[in-house]
């Protein structure tokens, strides 16, 4: 029975839509033909989109690494005033839903952006600078949002490093260069490879940046959307298959690599001592750099906040908005038409996350007791939505459910649910891994049956981690734009879609008020997640 529920979801939600898309891409008009593929590869625009996607992704990895790795080292190795605050702020991009981040970058660094025009005025240039557009704009936005992967992976890798190892190298006469290149970096390689692959996949999947800010640069994720919009479904399917297969290839590369490089459980070694920055000049330099970095990191948030107080239709050619008002916020909560998207986002993300939690618990319980091929099959199906770009999942489901769910209110929450399956299952898995399996056996020797053990022992131990993971899923669903834009209908339009519509009719203030609300909801949810993982709830450490 349980197995039926589990596999129903995996087969209908994951396997069927993707198989449908794949097979459908070879049957453009009923009969088998690879014509659409031929057309894609023989058209310059198709090849261009594929090449752009790949180039941008490789460049994004390089940019993100160049920012994230040094930053992680600085926080790990040096002690300076404001270190903890800065470290928290380093994760600031996480708070911005993809669409919101892109919009604020547009208004900061775009052709008529505040920063571009301020620099023009200050330096007396003929044109605003940097006036980001096209590939550069996409890359900058990607670097801002995705350096966090490198930062987090590298930080985690450095935490795992045993300080004694470096000290040992030092006693063996290694210079700091030798220490870095022969000891530290090689040990970090697994973390770095992980970060690179994750960044690559995120960049391939990125939709908001090229769609809003790309100025006509062709990339696969946007081409899929355009083909669909133009009614060229066969081409959309082919592009979907191509995007999906490049992401899946990277996923399997990642899993293969992880399998070969198990992080060895490092015992309690010596923690690396942080070098305090003491000299006056160094402090000054560090202070200045720190301030600039913080400013760059939270400028997008501040920009959205500023714009949310702009009276709609008043800001045209001035450097700074001339008229401020709080009516944007008032409107959101008093006018039912404006309130509706908020309610939509909340209920859809809520329902999807609730299902994720319930199904995730059920699936993990079942998988833990199952071995063999059935389990391996389930494992693969569970991980697939993680690797697939939102555009792919959404389009595959829209096409494959075109006779039942497409066009109904229910499809979008189902898409949210499917996309978050891997996230929640991984979180629950991680909590299970922390649980001492002997406690279940102890419960059995004390007379507890399976259900009683689950209710009194396993659930209380696993639930905090499961809830924390679910909150992350909730945030992702709440801020989603890519899959929403493909499957939403007017009556369930979520906040992100409403932001876009408001922008289209130049209601900058209203759009930004929505964005600020979204940021606040995300921040509150993240804080709640931190609270759940309160200390003392962790399993006993022997």
């Amino acid at each position: 029975m349980i197995a039926i529920i589990i596999f129903f979801v995996l087969l209908v939600g994951v396997l069927y839509p993707n198989a449908y898309t794949f097979i459908g891409s070879f049957f453009p008009d009923g009969g088998f033909s690879a014509d659409t593929y031929v057309r894609f590869f023989s058209s310059p625009s198709g090849r261009e989109a594929l090449a752009n996607s790949l180039t941008i992704s490789v460049a994004t990895v390089l940019f993100s690494a160049a920012i994230g790795i040094p930053l992680a080292f600085v926080f790990h190795r040096f002690d300076f005033p404001g270190r903890r605050v800065l470290r928290a702020i380093a994760s600031a991009p996480v708070l911005l839903p993809p669409l919101v981040g892109v919009i604020s970058f547009l208004f900061l660094y775009g052709e008529s952006g505040i920063v571009s025009r301020s620099i023009q005025n200050a330096l007396g240039l003929a044109e605003p600078w940097p006036s980001l557009r096209g590939i550069w704009a996409i890359l900058i936005v990607h670097a801002y949002t995705m350096y966090v992967y490198f930062f987090m992976f590298t930080s985690a890798g450095l935490e795992r490093l045993d300080g004694a190892m470096e000290e040992a190298a030092e006693t063996l006469g290694a210079s700091w260069i030798a220490k870095l290149t022969r000891v530290t970096l090689p040990m970090l390689v697994p973390s770095l490879v992980g970060a690179a692959l994750v960044t690559f996949m995120a960049s391939m999947a990125s939709f908001s940046a090229p769609y809003i800010f790309g100025g006509g640069v062709r990339v696969l994720s946007v081409e899929i959307f355009n083909s669909k919009l133009n009614g060229n479904t066969p081409m959309a399917l082919v592009e979907t298959v191509l995007l999906a297969s490049s992401s899946l290839a990277v996923l399997f590369l990642l899993r293969w690599y992880e399998g070969r490089h198990r992080y060895s459980a490092v015992g309690k070694g010596v923690a690396t001592q942080r070098v305090p920055i003491t000299s006056g000049l160094a402090k000054l330099v560090a202070g200045v750099i720190g301030t600039v970095v913080v400013l760059l990191l939270i400028l997008p948030h501040l920009m959205v906040l500023l714009m949310s107080f702009v009276k709609d239709g008043t800001w045209t050619v001035e450097l700074l908005p001339p008229v401020y008002t709080s009516e944007n916020y008032l409107k959101l909560f008093t006018d039912p038409t404006f309130l509706e998207p908020i309610q939509n986002s909340l209920w859809m993300a809520g329902v999807a996350t609730g299902l994720n939690l319930a199904w995730g618990l059920l699936a993990t319980f079942w998988l833990r007791r199952t071995r063999g091929n059935l389990r391996r099959f389930a494992d693969i199906l569970i991980i697939i939505p993680w690797a697939l770009p939102g555009t792919v999942v959404a389009l595959a489901m829209l096409e494959s459910f075109s006779r039942v769910l497409a066009g109904t209110v229910a499809l979008l929450p189902i898409v949210y649910f499917v996309r978050n399956i891997p996230l929640v299952v991984r979180a629950i898995d991680a909590s299970f891994a922390q649980m001492d399996p002997a406690v279940e056996e102890a419960a059995a020797t004390l007379g507890a049956g399976t259900i009683y053990t689950i209710r009194r022992v396993v659930l209380p131990l696993v639930l905090p981690g499961a809830l924390a993971g679910s909150l992350l899923a909730f945030i992702t669903a709440l801020g989603d734009f890519v899959s929403s834009i493909i499957v939403y209908v007017y009556s369930n339009r979520p906040i992100s879609i409403e932001i876009l519509s408001q922008l289209r009719i130049s209601n900058l203030g209203t759009a930004s008020a929505y964005a600020v609300l979204l940021i606040l909801l995300i921040a509150v949810t993240l804080l709640a997640g931190e609270r759940i993982r309160a200390p003392g709830r962790d399993p006993l450490v022997q």
Binding site: V439, E441, A442, T445, L446, L461, P539, L540
Partner: protein
């Protein structure tokens, strides 16, 4: 009539044979120790008695009833796990009450039994502590109280003292002995520490590589080991080549005296090659009659023989015996 009986138990994990043709009987109220080196199948044996593992073949009987396939939760067997396996989300009281609640006992009875169990492990007043706030020794005692509170038919202890530091070990060893005798519960405990087994158990089963080599009272297995492995595992042993096997004698039973006192009939002379002073006792390494052997003696303030000296060695026939077979461990 044994309370607990294992007959012809074999357990395979894939191609690994963890336990082979094991036969054991434990009487009511008896304390049996399973002693053996790491990986010899001790935990596996205990888990099969608890019902956490099903034997590949053979049967387990309690009160003459076959329980081989009865699930753990229906066996009424209390187990103290090697890492204690306390429930981290429950406090001390609820940990101990867990097994009582699964039996749907009334709250006053639950409370009374928890208090009694805590008292017997000398942790009165710890009811509302979180298990995170306990030392290793205290956690161990909570685990013991939890297993005892259900008033089990049989109590199983998996290396109950191995996670504790040496000074605590002795204290807890005495406490476990008292508690087990007080509850008069049939007990099987596993250890790789021969001191622990010798001082706690009524009988000892010595295992090696999944096979039971000998079962007997502590005195028997120590003084009359069945084979070279048992002889060595329980303490220092001399195994000297003999007519049809090996002559076994514990170092402390080897008699030596100075040659000046005159040699009386039996025995042989040997040269001292090493003398190690250990406080009350001295351990000598001797070379004579073509063999090397060890002797331990209380010196009682007498003169200690020096390396190079010749001494007279006697092996008392009532404290030595011939073990069949050759010495495989050397």
């Amino acid at each position: 009539m044994p309370h607990l009986e294992l007959s012809h138990i074999t357990k395979d994990f894939g191609t690994v044979r963890a336990v082979q043709d094991l036969n054991l009987e434990v009487d009511r109220g008896e304390v049996l120790s399973i002693l053996g080196p790491s990986g010899c199948g001790k935990t596996t044996t205990l888990r099969m008695i608890a019902g956490l593992e099903i034997p590949t073949s053979g049967s387990i009987l309690a009160n003459q009833r076959d329980i081989t396939r009865v699930p753990a939760r229906q066996r009424n067997i209390g187990m103290v796990f090697q890492n204690y396996a306390l429930f981290p989300h429950l406090d001390v009281f609820e940990n101990i009450a867990f097994g009582l609640r699964t039996r749907r006992l009334a709250q006053p009875i639950v409370e009374a039994r928890v208090v009694k169990a805590l008292k017997s492990v000398r942790l009165d007043g710890f009811e509302r502590r979180s298990v995170h706030q306990l030392s290793g020794g205290q956690q161990q005692r909570v685990a013991l109280a939890r297993a005892l509170a259900i008033e089990p038919e049989v109590l199983l202890l998996d290396e109950p003292l191995s996670n504790l530091d040496p000074s605590l070990r002795e204290e807890l060893r005495d406490q476990i002995r008292e508690v087990v005798r007080e509850f008069h519960v049939t007990t099987v405990f596993v250890t790789h520490d021969q001191q622990e087994a010798l001082s706690l158990a009524d009988r000892i089963a010595v295992m090696q590589a999944g096979v039971c080599r000998q079962v007997g009272k502590p005195g028997e297995v120590y003084d009359k080991p069945a084979d070279a492995f048992v002889a060595r595992f329980l303490g220092k042993a001399n195994l000297l080549p003999a007519e049809n096997g090996l002559l076994f004698v514990r170092p402390e039973n080897v008699i030596i005296h100075g040659v000046s006192g005159g040699t009386s009939g039996s025995g042989f002379s040997a040269v001292v090659t090493k003398a190690v002073f250990e406080g009350p006792m001295v351990t000598y390494t001797l070379n004579g009659n073509g063999v090397t052997l060890t002797a331990r003696q209380f010196h009682n303030g007498r003169r200690i023989f020096q390396p190079g000296e010749t001494v007279h060695v006697q092996i008392p026939p009532d404290q030595s015996h011939v073990i069949p077979g050759s010495d495989e461990t050397e």
